[in-house]
């Protein structure tokens, strides 16, 4: 194994000041970079708006892609502005949605760009926006009398799934299974900022994969892309939650495993982002998605967050001095209270393969069978047993590299960095 170097490598840096001012511009640049790294476009993704409604009453407004819908009921007069949507005080949500959908259809749908309006629970979803240039389906979503977000009941937290593209990685090795990795890239408009959404999908299950990384915060920092036709990394130099997403069709390791696809990054919340921090392995891998496919064609997909009760958290593996089971001994490169890097006799840091391990079985349901196992290796990267500032430059063999994830030692873990080829 050792350093696994991709033949073709693509790199891009974007300044939040000079290179993009909107999420659409950013996503367009990133999609271009992913294609430049060798991924193939599968299809254009249409956008959708989800609105979670508690009630809609006379006078409420929803502005959708520049079209201002104003709800009213008699005996009030119809509104003198916008697109009036007549409802009744006794209408159910389903009836209101039906009327809203008709208004959308009459005013926004075209045969070339049909829209659909549906209701699940009390969430109205308007989907099917045809997009150009990773389009901008709504300039704003606003209303009164309702809330629209991913978390019911939190006022003012709206989101729009904007458009993007679905991309396909190169296959891994020469196995007989279809082992490409599908990636959806688009962005979200939120009332508290703009996020980029990267959704990895296994080619074996296009419908149920739960992987969603929609927490990349595009509002600050300079952004960077580095990747190949099998792995991409998108990261900002800010470093906190929401600053990194990595998606990899990993180097599969020995034995019964055919291939393993792994992604980690942030998810959004009402205030900011969860996970995807570059400041520790645990912080970076806090939200993850894993798709495992075995040579006998069995497979499994796992997603979750560190700290959840399922305990299937992925880990980066590397050697240590560790012995014992106390917290201080976990990968315990700590002697005399100090974290010690592992150096060769010339004082150079020894590199280790960035092996990724996790539990296939839920330790709660399978306390015996649930063991941590190495599923693959990240590409164009190595691990070192020393902490270093983010973005500090160095080398992996003859390639320029930077500190992508830096972890400072503590009683529970050791110093370590993940260096990524740039």
């Amino acid at each position: 194994m050792s350093y696994y170097r991709s033949d073709s490598y693509h790199r891009l840096s974007l300044s939040a000041v000079s290179d993009f001012t909107t999420g659409a511009q950013f996503v367009e640049s990133i999609i271009g970079a992913i294609k430049g790294a060798g991924w193939a476009k599968q299809q254009t993704l249409t956008g959708e708006v989800s609105v979670t409604v508690i009630t809609i009453v006379h006078g409420d407004q929803i502005t959708l892609d520049g079209n201002q819908f104003v709800f009213w009921w008699p005996p009030n007069d119809p509104p003198s502005f916008g697109i009036p949507v007549e409802i009744s005080q006794t209408d159910t949500l389903a009836e209101i949605v039906s009327k809203f959908g008709s208004a959308i259809d009459q005013n926004m749908s075209t045969p070339e760009s049909p829209l659909t309006t549906t209701l699940e629970g009390n969430t109205i979803t308007v989907g099917g926006f045809s997009l150009s240039k990773n389009g901008h389906i709504c300039s704003i979503v606003s209303a009164t009398g309702g809330t629209w977000n991913g978390t019911t009941g939190v006022s003012g937290q709206g989101f729009i799934h904007n458009g993007g593209e679905q991309l396909l990685s190169a296959e891994v090795g020469d196995q007989d299974s279809n082992n490409s990795l599908i990636l959806q890239v688009r962005y979200l408009s939120l009332n508290n900022g703009t996020r980029m959404l990267v959704r990895p999908i296994s080619v074996h299950d296009l419908t149920t994969d739960p992987g969603f990384f929609d927490g990349l915060q595009l509002t600050t920092g300079n952004w960077h892309f580095a990747g190949s036709d099998k792995q991409i990394a998108i990261y900002s130099d800010v470093g906190g939650p929401g600053s990194i997403v990595v998606v990899s069709n990993m180097v599969p390791l020995v034995g019964t495993l055919d291939h393993c696809q792994f992604a980690f990054g942030p998810t959004r919340n009402n205030v900011g982002s969860d996970g995807g921090a570059r400041t520790s392995f645990a912080g970076a891998l806090a939200r993850y998605w894993v798709n495992v496919f075995y040579k006998d064609h069995t497979s499994g997909t796992y997603a979750g967050g560190i700290g959840a009760t399922n305990g299937q958290d992925p880990c980066i593996c590397y050697p240590g001095y560790a012995r014992g089971i106390a917290a201080v001994d976990k990968l315990g490169n700590r002697i005399g209270g100090n974290d010690l890097p592992i150096l060769d006799e010339n004082g150079n840091l020894l590199p280790y393969e960035p092996f990724i391990a996790f539990c296939k079985k839920d330790p709660i349901d399978f306390p015996v069978e649930a063991v941590l196992q190495i599923m693959g290796q990240l590409r164009d990267a190595m691990v070192y047993s020393k902490s270093a500032p983010l973005d500090e430059t160095g080398f992996i063999e003859d390639d320029n590299a930077i500190v992508l994830i830096g972890q400072t030692g503590s009683t529970a873990r050791s110093n370590g960095v993940l260096m990524l080829r740039t």
Binding site: C315, I335, E353, Q373
Partner: protein
Amino acid sequence: MSLGIGPYYSPGPITSDLLDAGGAQNFLDDVRAALENSGWEKTSNVSGLGGTTGYIMRSRKPEFGQRIKTKFYAISGFPNGLILIIFSVLNDAESLEACCGRVMIEDDKVQRIICGPYQYFVFFDFSVSPVNTTQGLFRNDASCGIPVMKNDSSCFWGLGELNSWRHHLSPIRSQATDAQMVFYLDGTLYDSPASSGTLVFPQLLSLRSSDLFRSIPFADDTYAVTNTLLCMGTNSGIKTFGIWDAFVHGQAQLTKVTSFADLHPWEAFTIQPFDSGVEVGCLWLANGSQSSLRVGAYSH
């Protein structure tokens, strides 16, 4: 670490012999014969208990690094009157010396040695000795060697008794009387000091995870095989080397296990698999040199 490089092989020959530990002189002579078979040379005799003759022997020189010497001889003074064989590791000039293990002589006892031109391991093997001694774990291990190096500086290691790799991949100091941990690095000899709080004694690394502590297997439950990573130093500087004719495997072994791979015979050396209840791995030693190609065989 790299899984692809494989073990660091010495030019050999590798010797695996039984040692008659039922008598001091027989034992001393057996150790000498085994080391000579692997290319060590006797440089002088050492007078020992009861007129026995111990030896100072000189290793061969690896491509990088300096020769070492070892001294082994019989002493008495043990509380129950038994004889002890003291093993020491010395620099080539014999200006530095440190104990690297002690072996107790008992009737009918058989020890084993696995050695090559740059290192040796003397240890107790329950599968060959008729004596299941109650002292078996305490005074049966002596080992030392020149690490695999990248330059010609002088460096050596020594571990014995409870702290040999027979018992732990990553030994820590236990009791002073039962623990020999020594290394010479950057001009300083670290000879089993009373406190090891600021020292990394010679130890071997195994693959773990960033948040857990067990040795981590691959997806099909096999464990990583790594070329040895031998670390030693102080908390202001630690360096990593290798040891010869060996690899570390992530799976622990409860008993002696043998195998054949890469044209070499191997045996599991670390057979105390659980360290504070945690499986950490096993050091495997080549117990023979590369097999000759069979008649008619050829290699690409």
